[in-house]
């Protein structure tokens, strides 16, 4: 048996711990962002994350804000976990199981809207 086609590690910021125990999702040198970012800045952050971590995300600049990321094959179920890890570590939020919904996470616009509601900036 296998799990759903585990994708190869992507991007340049994979964990440095490949030869040791797995640690928490690396945040690199980036600090948790202050919860006062505007919509444009949030969108820029999300697009940068997609571009740096997913092969099809390299075209993040040309992705429409309402393009469905799962349907377009930009992210898969493992990608959802990566995305959640990024949102939690970068923005200091907690994404509950109940919030793992397409309406929160399946397009750049929806992710930004979700972040704004969690950060209280909308």
């Amino acid at each position: 048996m296998s799990a759903e086609a585990a994708p190869a590690p992507r991007g340049s910021d994979r964990p440095a711990s490949l030869h040791g125990p797995v640690g928490p999702i690396p945040t690199g040198p980036l600090p948790i962002l202050a919860p006062m970012l505007d919509t444009v800045s949030l969108e820029r952050e999300v697009r940068r994350f997609l571009a740096e971590n997913f092969p099809l995300g390299e075209n993040a600049d040309t992705l429409a804000g309402n393009d469905a990321l799962l349907e377009a094959g930009v992210i898969d179920s493992t990608g959802v976990l990566e995305l959640v890890g990024f949102l939690e570590s970068r923005f200091g939020i907690v994404v509950s199981d109940e919030e793992l919904l397409p309406e929160n996470l399946d397009s750049i616009d929806r992710i930004v809207g979700y972040l704004e509601s969690k950060l209280g900036t909308s």
């Binding site: 296998s2 928490p24 976990l81």
Partner: protein, 336 residues
């Protein structure tokens, strides 16, 4: 088919005798003729698919030209070895038992997995068991990400959503199991000049439910075109013993019992057979809803899940990519 036609299990009915005969002829032609091998190696797991493949190979080549390999490990279910022996023995195949626990320990399979598990459940240790599960597909729009379920020595259960890193590390470590087994299958294939027979059925092949270069590797895959209900039909015809036909399809990979449904497919194999068939013939969800016992909305959810898994399976099914395709460069020379 007409987009309005109703899809039922009757459309998946097969003539088991004819299907078995066709596969046996095909096996002989390919293994003897094209691959120039004398027989087949089959990893026998105690499940229905490998039992059917072993039976087909025994009939195609003769039981003495089939190497039935039984490869239990530390996390195998208690009944696995007995069912595997039954599957091989019922077809006249002399089983070869290779416990792979030591090989897996040497590769760090268990250690690497447990280290990753402890990032989610720090108390996980000796005496604990675990498995990975998906949330419900039916009746829910929730995105389907894997969680860990761990059970302590006193029976206490912990369920945690996994980070991507922990999930991938557990998966990568666990995949040693399928790859180690395949390594042994090819050891015997090389020694005996046999071909390796893979055991995926259509659901597994189409949906990517296998490990690349693990159970996904084989020289022939004789039941990859058959839906699971068709495999059961064939099993009945081939006299696969009832305890094997009655066994719940299991991953038999994690230390806690885990059905294939809860780990990967999310619906029963009958429902997935129907939905995958309906999806293949481009039938609308409403055409299969009644037969599958699902409402049309849930069929659409299953369709979306099928498509996402097909996307993921693309990588698994690809052969190695070459800079310049070499075409027939590796074909054997024509006989003089």
């Amino acid at each position: 088919m007409s987009r309005l036609e109703t899809v039922t299990l009757a459309q998946l009915e097969i003539d088991a005798e004819q299907t078995a005969a066709e596969i046996q002829t095909w096996l002989r032609e390919v293994v003897h003729g094209s691959l120039r091998r004398k027989g087949a190696v089959v990893g026998v797991s105690g499940g229905i698919d490998s039992a059917v493949v072993a039976a087909l190979c025994a009939r195609a080549f003769g039981p003495d030209r089939v190497c039935g390999l039984l490869m239990p490990e530390a996390d195998s279910a208690p009944e696995t070895l007995a069912l595997s022996r039954l599957a091989a023995g019922s077809q006249g195949i002399e089983p070869v038992v290779e416990d792979v626990t030591d090989l897996l320990t040497a590769a760090g399979c268990y250690r690497r997995r447990d280290e990753a598990v402890r990032t989610a459940v720090p108390e996980y240790g000796p005496g604990w068991k675990m498995k990975i599960v998906l949330p419900e597909l039916l009746g829910s729009e929730r995105l389907r990400v894997f969680s860990l379920v761990a059970e302590g020595p006193a029976g206490e259960r912990v369920a945690k959503r996994l980070s991507a890193e922990a999930y991938l590390a557990i998966l990568a470590a666990t995949n040693f199991k399928q790859r180690t087994r395949k390594m042994l299958e090819y050891y015997y294939a090389d020694r005996l000049v046999y071909a390796v027979a893979g055991t995926p059925n259509r659901l597994e092949y189409d949906q990517g439910f296998y490990v690349k270069n693990g159970d996904g590797a084989a020289d022939v895959k004789p039941i990859a075109h058959l839906y699971k209900t068709q495999v059961y039909r064939l099993a009945e015809y081939l006299d696969v013993p009832e305890p094997i036909r009655a066994r719940l399809p299991t991953t038999d990979t994690y230390s806690l019992p885990q059905s294939q449904e809860e780990f990967y497919f999310s619906v029963s194999h009958e429902q997935l057979d129907l939905c995958l068939y309906a999806h293949n013939v481009r039938a609308p969800g409403a055409a299969v809803a009644e037969a599958a016992g699902l409402d049309a909305e849930d069929v659409e959810r299953v369709y979306r899940d099928i498509e996402r898994k097909q996307q993921a399976a693309h990588y698994l099914n690809l052969e190695p990519q070459l800079v310049v395709p070499l075409g027939g460069a590796h074909r054997p020379p024509a006989p003089r």
